[in-house]
């Protein structure tokens, strides 16, 4: 994808559509923000008129204009934030919906931390930019242009000299600061980082240093670090301090007013008043620049990341809601590679219905991947997974979810009670049903227990209890007994076998436990392959 620019906000089909409902409010916000500024300018124009014609009329008009300006700016702020809320709400839903429909391998490829910051920080940065850009446009473009027009029309082009201080300061913020940051920013961060780690090292080692009589040496080393920090920072800062000081000083009205007086002192008082009042035309926007426009660049890169995520293809789904009988699950010519390794190479297999099948194989053979493929959470690269002779990618996503129940590896639970955790998959189950499912899963526990305080083995059984609550005809379990002792594991496998036989379910378990695998009626063994295709 090319580098994101601000146009993408409108033109990108993914973001643009999301922004569309918020656009009218944003435009209205920009308009009101500009109107607010123009009303202030008009009020000052009344002040100029007041000087030529001392009458209450001009004061009252100005006060009305000021009131209007305040009302406009308040409404602009409300509109911008309201539009922002609408946009971020829509964007959040779009991202979350897309996430839940991504292939498992895409999700794991993203990395937890980057996903977390994408759904929180990046969305925040993007909607922040969307909310603030309109008023910035009013401040940075509309108002300076209007003031300059007024200046030229009321006084003449020679007054443009009053813009000089503001221009110089703006140049500093727009040209000098980014260059200095590009050149010295990293080095300054490094100096900062060094002193922080010096403090940490020093506090960490202080016991050892004292008990080994090295305190004075360590303190001297520490002082050297502090001094190095001061010297390096003074060097960096002194390079820019004068420029920064000049920019700040030029933004004080005193500089602009002096020039305004110089330009207009020999004209009449009205001209002088106009020059003075409108001379700060670009000082205010330059002050705004001083506070930084970083949020635009961070917003743009956040937008790039969000677009990239939204562009990653989701799982294929279809519209089919009816399945034929018998519900036989079959793998047909399945091919799947991870990197260069062909994990599944023309695999064919038919899972007997009403049977429990065990999948075994060395780690890295693709057992978990195969389960995800069977559950429709990972697309095959070639071949088909068929249920009742229908390719599962043609199923409606909700039907597919109701048909295949996958109990993933690792015993994750939500930070909530056991009951809420079970209700995730069985929202309408009664407490008795939940309790009996737990007992079948070898776990006798109060439904209101906080699931997060449970041991790994207990959490694993909460996952397994879902099996006994689900109407799904195909049940896939990934290492369901890894955290259980032998007795519980055996009992559990027997319950699963029983379930398969008595309720006509296709149950498939992945296990590394050979003894358990022999208890299953059918057995599929996967081999690990190297890049060149050898079997291991």
């Amino acid at each position: 994808m090319s580098k994101p620019n601000l146009r993408c906000l409108i033109t990108n089909p993914l973001i643009g559509l999301t922004l569309q409902p918020a656009l009218p409010k944003l435009l209205a916000g920009t308009l009101l923000s500009s109107l607010s500024g123009l009303a202030t300018l008009a009020a000052f124009w009344c002040m100029v008129q007041l000087i030529s014609d001392i009458s209450a009329y001009w004061v009252i008009t100005a006060i009305i204009l000021w009131l209007l300006s305040a009302a406009f700016s308040a409404s602009a702020s409300w509109l911008a934030h309201d539009a922002e809320a609408a946009f971020s709400g829509k964007l959040r839903r779009q991202v979350a919906n897309h996430l839940t429909r991504l292939p498992a391998s895409t999700l794991s490829g993203q990395g937890d931390q980057s996903l977390r910051s994408l759904v929180s920080d990046d969305i925040a940065k993007l909607h922040h930019m969307v909310a603030h850009l309109p008023s910035e446009i009013a401040n940075l473009a509309v108002l300076p242009l209007a003031s300059i027009t007024l200046l030229i029309s009321m006084v003449g082009p020679e007054t443009l000299w009053v813009l000089l201080p503001g221009l110089i300061a703006s140049l500093y913020y727009l040209v000098v600061v980014p260059r200095i940051t590009a050149r010295d920013g990293a080095a300054r961060m490094k100096v900062m980082g060094e002193v922080i780690s010096a403090v940490d090292d020093y506090a960490r080692g202080i016991r050892v240093n004292r008990i080994y009589g090295r305190q004075s040496g360590a303190l001297a080393t520490y002082h050297d670090s502090a001094e190095r920090f001061t010297n390096s920072m003074v060097m960096w800062v002194s390079k820019v301090a004068t420029f920064a000081g000049i920019a700040v000083a030029l933004l004080q009205a005193v500089a602009t007013f002096a020039i305004a007086y110089l330009v207009s002192y020999d004209q009449n008082t009205i001209i002088l008043a106009a020059t003075l009042f409108f001379s700060l035309a670009i000082v205010t926007p330059a002050l705004r620049l001083g506070h930084g426009l970083d949020y635009v660049s961070t917003g743009k890169s956040a937008m790039g990341r969000i677009i990239k995520l939204l562009q990653t293809p989701a799982l294929p789904t279809g519209q089919l809601t009816q399945l034929g009988t018998p519900p036989i699950l079959a793998i047909k010519d399945a091919e799947y590679s991870i990197g260069k390794v062909k994990t599944l190479d023309k695999l064919n297999y038919i899972f007997e219905p009403s049977t429990m099948t065990a999948i075994t194989g060395p780690s890295g053979a693709g057992k978990t991947t195969l389960l995800r493929i069977l559950a429709g959470l990972e697309p095959l690269q070639k071949g088909h997974i068929q249920l009742a002779q229908t390719d599962i990618s043609q199923l409606d996503e909700q039907v597919r979810h109701e048909t295949f129940l996958l109990i993933p590896q690792g015993a994750d639970v939500l930070p909530a009670t056991v009951k809420e955790n079970l209700r995730l998959s069985a929202p309408n189950a009664t407490d008795e049903q939940l309790k009996s499912a737990l007992i079948t899963a070898q776990l006798d526990i109060d439904l209101n227990t906080d699931a997060q305080i449970l041991s790994g083995g207990e959490r694993q059984r909460i996952g397994i209890a879902r099996v006994f609550l689900s109407p799904a005809p195909v049940i896939l379990l990934d290492e369901p007994t890894s955290a259980l002792d032998q007795i519980k594991a055996t009992k559990l496998i027997e319950s699963l076998e029983h379930l398969a036989r008595n309720q006509d379910k296709t149950i498939i378990i992945v296990t590394h436990d050979k003894a358990l695998a022999t208890k299953a009626s059918a057995h599929l063994e996967l081999k690990r392959k190297t890049a060149s295709g050898e079997l291991l």
């Binding site: 000087i51 919906n97 004292r210 007013f257 002096a258 996503e397």
Partner: protein
């Protein structure tokens, strides 16, 4: 150690070190001067308008104000950096005297926070905060005086009243805006929290709840936050309205006052409007600064808490030498209490004994060891080594008697040899290699061509926990101190390695005082101290 007995009067110690205070005072005077020059420039401009002056004096006074602003700003930036440097230095200085029992994990986290956020935050005080706190209020004050000189007391009083009212209103509306922002932030955080829960449990959610109900689950939480946001945005818009009105109130009020009191000089009206608008300009910053003062104060108090730490008094070197007595390393613990764990402990340890300190967890085993090394003084009773009370010898004197290996070994960034040499600064490479091999570090020495001169990574990150523990043991062994204190020093070692280390320790003539959570019999203790709170 050269640090003498020092009992500073805590009331007179201001938060900042004296040199930093002097620097800040200089910049403060600078900002007040800038405000004065600026107010003078505006007043001269007003005089010029009224009296049709040529621009000479206006340009000169403006030039002086600009020049002073540049200088003070530059000074402010540089002072900010130096202030940070001073504060880092003062932090190190005060930690150097802090009693060792203070260095808990919490306190270390506090220090890290101050170093990483507190002090860097103070860098903006001279250039920004002082400008807001001094320059911003001085400008209107000086200009009110200018108006009084230029026009009349009445007008100056009206200006003062308008400016005060505007400031108060802006302060209140900024406060409301601040609250709104905080609520917005909170809403945002809670919304993200819901989304992050989705990310963290995505596999569970989509397998257990399916694609549709997964979103429904967080939808409910999002909706609540979105409702809250609508309310917040309305409140914020109202605050914006009030704040905008307040900012133009002085100039509008002044114009109205002049008209309704029959003022009829156009030049004087212009002059006054210019002055009042300049006097009103910094009020917004001042209001915001007033709101930020609590944060600043909190940061300063954090710094104070980390630099105003408890210290243990030490005798001067001279006193200690006089008392230097026999060479008999007899340790005596007499009636020692240390709340809440230790209560009236009495123990005598003779030279060369192997003392097991035992008891249930939380009974104060580590605390007793730490008291022997004077990480703190007992609340009651005293401890002597060679008949000298610990608080009557210098810390260096005490330290020369003791080698210590804590459960969580501290190793420093550097080489293996650097870390071991801490125990004996004049040790030859040969000595270090010998002791390292005795401490079962051969496998590490052999894995790099640099041998003992190999780097062990950032804070020893290239070593495992057990390896770090062996480095700390080697460091203690090479010191060859008369007393060796081991607090679970072999906890991260396998049993065979532990036995090897213990064999080396058994060959020492030193008094060994140790805590272990394993079977103590392999240590062949000659004495046990059982603690039970």
């Amino acid at each position: 150690m050269s640090i003498a007995v020092n009992t500073p009067d805590k009331k007179t110690i201001a938060i900042l070190p004296p040199i930093a205070r002097r620097r800040l005072i200089t910049v403060s005077i600078g900002w007040i001067l800038v405000a004065a020059l600026e107010a003078i420039a505006y007043t001269i401009l007003a005089l010029g308008i009224i009296n049709y002056w040529p621009p000479k004096w206006i340009l000169i006074s403006a030039g002086a104000a600009v020049f002073a602003t540049v200088l003070v700003n530059r000074l402010g930036y540089l002072t900010g950096v130096r202030l940070a440097g001073d504060l880092y230095a003062a932090l190190g200085q005060s930690l150097a005297r802090t009693k060792l029992s203070w260095f808990t994990n919490d306190h270390r986290a506090q220090i890290a926070h101050i170093a990483g956020q507190g002090i860097p935050g103070f860098m903006s005080i001279p250039a920004h905060q002082l400008q807001n706190f001094l320059h911003a209020p001085c400008i209107p004050l000086f200009l009110i005086f200018g108006i009084y000189v230029l026009v009349s007391l009445d007008v100056a009083l009206v200006a003062a009243a308008l400016l005060t009212l505007s400031l108060i209103t802006q302060f209140l509306s900024q406060k409301a805006l601040g609250h709104a922002d905080a609520r917005r932030h909170d809403t945002e955080a809670k919304t993200s929290e819901a989304t992050i829960e989705l990310v963290d449990h995505i596999e569970l959610l989509r397998t257990a709840a399916g694609p549709v109900r997964t979103i429904e689950r967080i939808e409910h939480r999002w909706k609540n936050q979105e409702k809250a946001l609508i309310k917040t945005n309305k409140a914020a818009a109202f605050a914006v309205f009030i704040s905008s009105l307040a900012s133009i109130m002085p100039i509008a009020g002044m114009a109205a006052y002049l008209i309704f009191t029959g003022f009829n000089s156009p030049t004087a009206i212009l002059a006054l409007l210019i002055m009042i608008s300049r006097a009103a300009a910094p009020l917004g910053d001042l209001a915001t600064a007033g709101l930020s003062i609590n944060d600043l104060r909190a940061s300063l108090n954090n710094y104070k808490a980390a630099t105003n730490t408890p210290i243990l008094p030490e005798p001067t070197t001279a006193q200690a030498n006089v008392q230097h007595a026999s060479d008999n390393h007899h340790i005596s613990v007499q009636g020692v209490s240390y709340a809440p764990m230790l209560n009236n402990i009495n123990v005598n340890i003779s030279i060369g004994s192997r003392v097991l300190v035992t008891g249930p967890s939380g009974s104060g085993k580590s605390t007793l060891l730490e008291l022997l090394m004077r990480f703190d003084d007992p609340t009651q009773g005293h401890i002597t080594i060679n008949g000298i009370k610990l608080n009557e010898m210098t810390y260096d004197e005490l330290a020369s008697n003791i080698a210590f290996v804590p459960q969580d070994p501290i190793v420093f960034t550097g080489t293996l040899a650097d870390n071991i040499r801490i125990g004996k600064p004049d040790a030859s490479d040969k000595e270090i290699e010998d002791i390292a091999k005795k401490s079962t570090l051969s496998s590490i020495i052999d894995r790099s061509p640099d041998g003992i001169h190999q780097s062990i990574g950032q804070q020893g990150s290239a070593l495992s926990g057990g390896e770090r523990q062996r480095v700390a043991l080697a460091r203690a062994l090479i010191k060859n101190a008369p007393i060796l204190i081991l607090d679970e020093a072999t906890a991260a070692l396998d049993e065979a390695t532990e036995q090897e280390i213990i064999n080396v320790i058994h060959d020492l003539s030193a008094t060994i005082i140790f805590v272990t959570h394993r079977d103590p019999s392999i240590w062949q203790p000659t004495q046990s101290i059982y603690l039970n709170s």
